[in-house]
Symmetry: D2
Subunit: 128 residues, 4 copies
């Protein structure tokens, strides 16, 4: 049988894929980062088993990515950090997306299963 | 030659298509409508020649569309009204999306060309 | 430590969220289902650890969903079945999306971990 | 009153914004360009007043954009050329997206209005 911890990790992955592919490509400038962060976090928190989402879009990276006269760029994984906490049947999963060696990685940080053996994980994925 | 008014209308259409297909499908609930409205408006206002965007997501329609236990639905054209004002080389174009006979229509409302003959338009399009 | 099986499930979830939120909202008619199925499967198979994806968009459901004169609708979870096989460090995960009680469910079907105890799972998630 | 030519240009813009923001961000590799081209063209051709769409994703640019070990990249405007023909009430509009000075431009190429004065246009827009 699949375990509750495995299902919790599956749910955590769904949220990450959803957040990334729903919002990647959104026009963004330093003037619109705050509203986009809030909308992304609140949208994904609507999904089942999603306890908390924080999105940090880095204004300096956005400014640097704006390399033409129009004054905006498109949202990509390299412009933001994301953290999520998923809770499923007593199991808590923490995940994050951050830059590693120049690429945005979606990482399974920790799985806290009261009936199992929680511990710190490390990076597992490149999805950019 | 294509006229400035025609180009302004082309730009106005780009903004509508962008807004709709970037954000349709976003998980939404009455608790997250305000942040999504703000993010949509500010994101599209980043695009060139886009003077103003207002997005109104109707909480009552969102609540009605939530027909299962998870407490959220996905954003579609039937849940919101959108108005935009585009300015290109002195021409101002006003557009909106609203429900007509049960379907969301993207409409070219008015083209104000100081060198031409501005007037009120009427509904022109179904893109849902 | 997070286990390989947990990481495989996280990866499987990422693929499902990606597929859904990249392609939901795409204009679709019975004339364009085959090309959309192929593009969705091949696009997601590009992602790491993704062995196989099959997408079946049901022409009859698409035809039924076209309720206005324009002759097309937008892709949603209720119009298709999806199956995926993910492979991560020797662990194989099978997932699917199909209708359950009128809603599309993303399900963790089976986790085959040669070092663990593989078995059939059951439905775990509603993400529509 | 808004003219048929203006409305045709508005429709043309909608199609471009839709195509771009629906499909930008899709995972793509040289192995999946053909299916993605076909799906994009057929999807947008479903929309009203859209006579013809051609999408050319350049395999060499895709290969060049794959700068990490995963073997895929995300679709952006710089990887493709797009041409569209829109027909509205006897007016034909031709549009394209192509690289200009290193940026993808959406251009209104020509408006052919039998009751007006058709001619070649030139580049009008940067929406990337």
């Amino acid at each position: 049988m699949t375990t509750d911890a495995q299902r919790a990790c599956f749910e955590a992955g769904i949220k990450f894929g959803s957040l990334y592919h729903q919002f990647a490509g959104t026009p963004v400038s330093p003037a619109s980062t705050r509203s986009l962060e809030a909308a992304m976090a609140e949208a994904i928190e609507n999904q089942p088993f999603c306890d908390a989402v924080t999105v940090d879009i880095h204004d300096d990276r956005v400014a640097e990515a704006i390399d033409h006269e129009n004054g905006y760029t498109e949202l990509t994984g390299s412009l933001m950090d994301v953290e999520m906490r998923i809770a499923y049947e007593g199991v808590t999963v923490r995940t994050r997306m951050a830059m590693r060696d120049g690429y945005p990685l979606m990482e399974l940080v920790a799985v806290d299963d009261p009936t199992g053996d929680p511990d710190e994980g490390d990076e597992v994925n490149v999805d950019s």
